[in-house]
Symmetry: C2
Subunit: 663 residues, 2 copies
């Protein structure tokens, strides 16, 4: 047996495990693993710096299966490399409840999986974040501590999705030369051959975006290896288009979408075994192949140990800081600094937009939390996301901690996920709240994976004024609150902004999103409180506990609620105001606190310059809602709030009328 022959057999082991697991589950995607088995064998046995027994080694190469439906490729490889988690029993439980082998790779389920993929294009887009994080850390810690590659397997679907353009344009611009994408160029999509829907020349396309790109035969392991060697030496990110055949080996379903997303069936599998020269029973790996893979799995142990020795030799502070950041622990002075900052706000009472007080908070935070990496989708001057200490990151200088993401909300958000998953950084990025729609697929993945990222979404209502309904969020707060495990904040003043930033940075297992105003807002929290009141989600901000009217509001509408309270009091009745910076955190409070905050006022009013959906939880089905029922309009803010009836007068009048009608 020569080495090349063993290599081929090692690739066939992936094919067999993929066929057999999908067949047992009667569900899954055998075609991609069978097509890309040779490429994966080359990558995982010769290049990928990875110790399967220590999957969290910070300087490992990262591997992203952007074509996530081919999850059996990754599970097979991890099993073959010797993962103690991914036993053969787990492969037999593919796609079953509570298994470590779900339909698509889930990093929060399976050891050794770097990120959750399946929604096409996002793996590729996240890989830009991984590669960027590597370069940024390298700029701080040097080659002997951080120096690794990010490899991606992507399919036609990934490259057809729009986010791929945002990703490759950004990666090419930033010269992320340690990013290497292996394109499964099999010419097949679910509907049939790719010529049904695309004619793009991918190599030319990537070259136009500043990538090194070439084509290889995806079944010629030496050719693939040589291309990876060239890619590793390039000063640009690299695309290697690997010409493959989907379902390679299947006698009738190869080169057809029939092998993409369903079990092949017993006859087809028997035929494939024959064709591949693989006479072994299902889930059985012959010794030579098993040994070959296990040896590859141990190939980087010495390298990892050498890395650990290099780190151990560094001075104490550097080591502690490196560990702190990978452990997601904030600097020791964080809490005190936030409290001092908050106290200053209650003293000075700056009447500024919450986007501005967010910038003020960031000036402070970026000075003490070096892992913060800011950015904006080309709205820096509007989102006010750049902290004073931050200089822009450029292709020539990766020590910058502010990223001009370009007009790429989705690409930015996916890159943020990648940066967070890489470790060592806490990314945040800005755009207009209305364009959270563009980023939504990545925001959902943030929530599903629990990445520690912060979305800074400004211009959060009709309050943005003249740009009109295309730019005015109306349904977005409800739509974002709908996403499980996402913390949505809409702070009312500079103090709440500081508190929400504090929660966002301290909550390491959930993403956060701040909805911030364009317009100026007074400080309502004029008495300093050590307690982070926003952490309760909702709290009494003004008025007596036993008032006849409760006014619930968020963000810019809390001021309106406070003014409405004054009008109600002027009419001889009583009112209280509850600020609701976060629905999710309020829902997490105990029943007694929630009951106290909701209160027993006869009349309940909610004020939010957005749709009602979700507010019945606070005010009930018969509560009064002062907000939007449709899209906004283009006009100055001074005209819009009265036009849509979102005023203190309207709220007070409605509450008083209800009080009277109840009497």
């Amino acid at each position: 047996m020569t080495a090349p022959e063993l290599n081929k057999r090692m690739a066939n082991a992936i094919r067999a495990l993929a066929m057999d697991s999908v067949e047992k589950a009667k569900s899954g995607h055998p075609g991609m693993p069978m097509g890309m088995a040779d490429v994966a064998t080359v990558l995982f046995t010769r290049f990928l710096k990875f110790d399967v027994a220590n999957p969290h080694w910070p300087d490992r190469d990262r591997f992203v299966l952007s074509a996530g439906h081919g999850s059996m490729l990754l599970y097979s490889v991890l099993h073959l490399l010797g993962s103690t988690a991914l036993t053969i029993g787990q492969l037999k439980q593919f796609r079953q409840l509570h298994s470590l082998t779900p339909g698509h790779p889930e990093n929060f389920v399976t050891p050794g999986i770097e990120t959750t993929t399946g929604p096409l294009g996002q793996g590729l887009a996240m890989s830009v974040g991984f590669a960027l994080a590597e370069r940024m850390l390298n700029a701080e810690y040097g080659d002997d501590i951080v120096d690794h590659y990010t490899y991606v397997i992507a399919g036609d679907g990934c490259l057809m999705e729009g986010v791929s353009h945002e990703a490759i344009d950004l990666a090419g611009h930033l010269k992320l030369n340690k990013l290497i994408v292996l394109f499964d160029d099999n010419g097949i999509t679910i509907d049939g051959h790719t010529d049904l829907s695309t004619s793009v020349d991918q190599v030319a396309r990537f070259q136009a975006s500043g990538w090194h790109a070439e084509r290889v035969d995806g079944f010629d392991q030496e050719e693939v290896a040589a291309a990876i060697e060239r890619a590793r030496k390039s000063d640009k990110p690299s695309l290697i288009a690997c010409k493959t055949i989907i379902g390679y080996g299947a006698p009738t379903k190869a080169d057809s979408h029939a092998s993409h997303g369903a079990a092949l069936g017993a006859a087809e599998i028997a035929g494939a075994r024959e064709k591949l020269g693989w006479p072994y029973p299902p889930f059985e790996i012959p010794d030579d192949v098993a040994t070959g893979w296990l040896e590859a799995g141990k190939g980087w142990v010495a390298e990892r140990e050498a890395w650990e020795a290099r780190l151990a030799a560094k001075d104490h502070d550097l080591k502690a800081e490196f560990k702190r950041r990978f452990d997601k622990i904030l600097p020791g002075n964080f809490e005190a600094a936030v409290e001092a900052y908050k106290r200053g706000l209650s003293d000075t009472k700056p009447k500024v937009a919450t986007r501005k007080s967010s910038e003020m908070a960031l000036d402070m935070l970026t000075a003490i939390v070096p892992e913060l990496v800011g950015g904006s989708a080309d709205l820096t001057g509007s989102n006010l996301t750049r902290g004073k200490p931050q200089k822009p990151l450029t292709p020539e200088d990766y020590s910058g901690r502010y990223i001009h993401y370009g007009i790429r909300e989705f690409g930015m958000s996916a890159a943020m996920n990648g940066i967070s998953l890489h470790g060592g950084f806490l990314p945040y990025g800005g755009t207009f709240l209305v364009f959270s729609d563009y980023a939504r697929p990545a925001i959902r993945l943030s929530a599903l994976m629990g990445t520690h990222v912060v979305y800074v979404m400004t211009h959060d209502s009709i309050g943005l004024g003249e740009d009109g309904p295309t730019h005015q969020p109306v349904e977005h707060l409800a739509a974002l609150r709908a996403i499980p495990h996402l913390l949505v904040f809409r702070p009312a003043d500079a103090v709440e902004v500081a508190e929400c930033w504090q929660i966002a940075l301290e909550t390491t297992n959930h993403p956060s999103l701040l909805a911030l105003s364009r317009q100026n807002l007074p400080v309502l929290r004029t008495a300093h409180s050590v307690e982070n009141k926003s952490a309760r989600g909702a709290y009494l901000i003004a008025g007596p506990a036993d008032a006849e009217v409760t006014l619930f509001a968020t963000g810019s509408e809390v001021e309106i609620a406070v003014n409405a309270m004054a009008k109600i009091e002027a009419a001889g009745r009583t009112a209280r105001v509850v600020s609701v910076p976060s629905f999710e955190l309020f829902a997490a409070q105990d029943a007694a606190y929630r009951a106290e905050v909701i209160g027993t006022a006869k009349v309940k009013v909610a004020i939010e310059a957005a749709i009602r959906q979700g507010w019945d939880t606070f005010i009930g089905h018969d509560g009064i809602f002062i907000g939007m029922t449709g899209f906004g309009a283009s006009a100055p803010i001074e005209a819009l709030y009265p036009y849509f009836g979102i005023t203190a007068d309207a709220a007070a009048d409605a509450a008083l009328a209800r009080l009277t009608s109840n009497v």
Copy 2:
């Protein structure tokens, strides 16, 4: 005065009106109109086939201002061409409430505006739909009735957004040679110079996607004209990258993002007037320039009249059909056909997935409604969106009425908007419900504009099973119901599917979205009703009106509710089931009907395999909700529903326990 000199002055009129209107509004974007004024002058005075007095002429060239923030370019041009709507008074009311000149172009506000733009990239993506509709109609009606171009002005932002890739890949593949994009290549974005965030070679990029692409000097009108001539002759879609200077003429702010999105200020405007040789007061156009533009505005009257004569000479049926389709009137036999089809379903009771009964409905509908244009984002065999009579559209044959949109949910949805806006077609397209997130920015524009499109979203819950949480919608029904003016349907059986399709086709001023199951569901509407019950949004589908328990449910969970009803009855209590195919249509019913449907049962239960948000409207804050509280999991459907507690037993037990506790 030679012609070229007058042409330059005509361009300066755009610059002056843009500066002056933005200055008066103290808000807006002068930079783009000032940079692209020469290009626009060439396009609108020499090429664009458009009769400003008859903006709905079906064979007019379409113009899409993808860089929608430059709205003053379009308002200025329409005014100068002689629009009676866009008076100088309207330009002075730029960005004011109720004006015809909102911040971004809104086709539902302003005569002569083809589509709403501003969310970047979408104008370009919609233009693919416009150009495709033209080719499709041309294939049906011939060159003498339909033969026109679609022109686009796009900026750096449009070309950085990911959807641009989906659009140009699809347009290049489909060889949409009558699509011509003029790229405002000014090298500036909001954050500064484009070299902050992009290095792509746009000409090479477009060429890689099968476009004719070239570069010109955007201030050389003859060069621009020659390039447009070449583009018109190309057998590919064309990109003309026009090198321009943002804010051209402004003495200090030109070539800087300072001229992008704010009024220039009096001094800068005075300087620009001097630099441009434009001594006239604000909003004043000298006679020679006004006359030049007005003559251009009349340039196509003869052409339009000739077109009308050609149409008039056609036979009666063709004319009537052409008019019917542009008037969005369904064929005369539509209603009867749907009723007969519904009757058949109640008789034969097919137990199929609602995605399958949607396909059955489409087999029928596509045979009688020729304007239906189907498609899928590469999930045809899963979405079941192709009607039997439909053959695929290809670059060689535009008579196909089924479009393989590729893995491009956003691009598909934007193209559907463009097809609808063009007129003559009623587009629908499919993907998985979870990937409505990818399409969301276009769905929002559908709702804002009121385009007549139908989104077919299958695999609408954890019921899709093994693909796992990345593919299982949980928050999507709530998030879509949050979008104003979008009709979201979740039909429970084949009969409701037929009814929802009927409503979707009959509702011409709102987009519709169907959420359909992967799993089989029994026919519950076994007694035929002539009335379209789904049109009420919610209705009593089973049980007595005065029951002790009301079970509200949608889609696949209505069967569960019916089974829960039986269990409650078996326990000696009474229950009724309300099917809720559409929240929006139910909210539009009168109060009496709503009160009757909601009913007065002691115990209210809602069952939906999704989050609770929005359901309190039906069941109240203290109602019982059987559904999801977080993300799903990868497992067979048979395991998932019990695991998440969404079963008839769980619903019945909870209802009975509440009944008992209440007694």
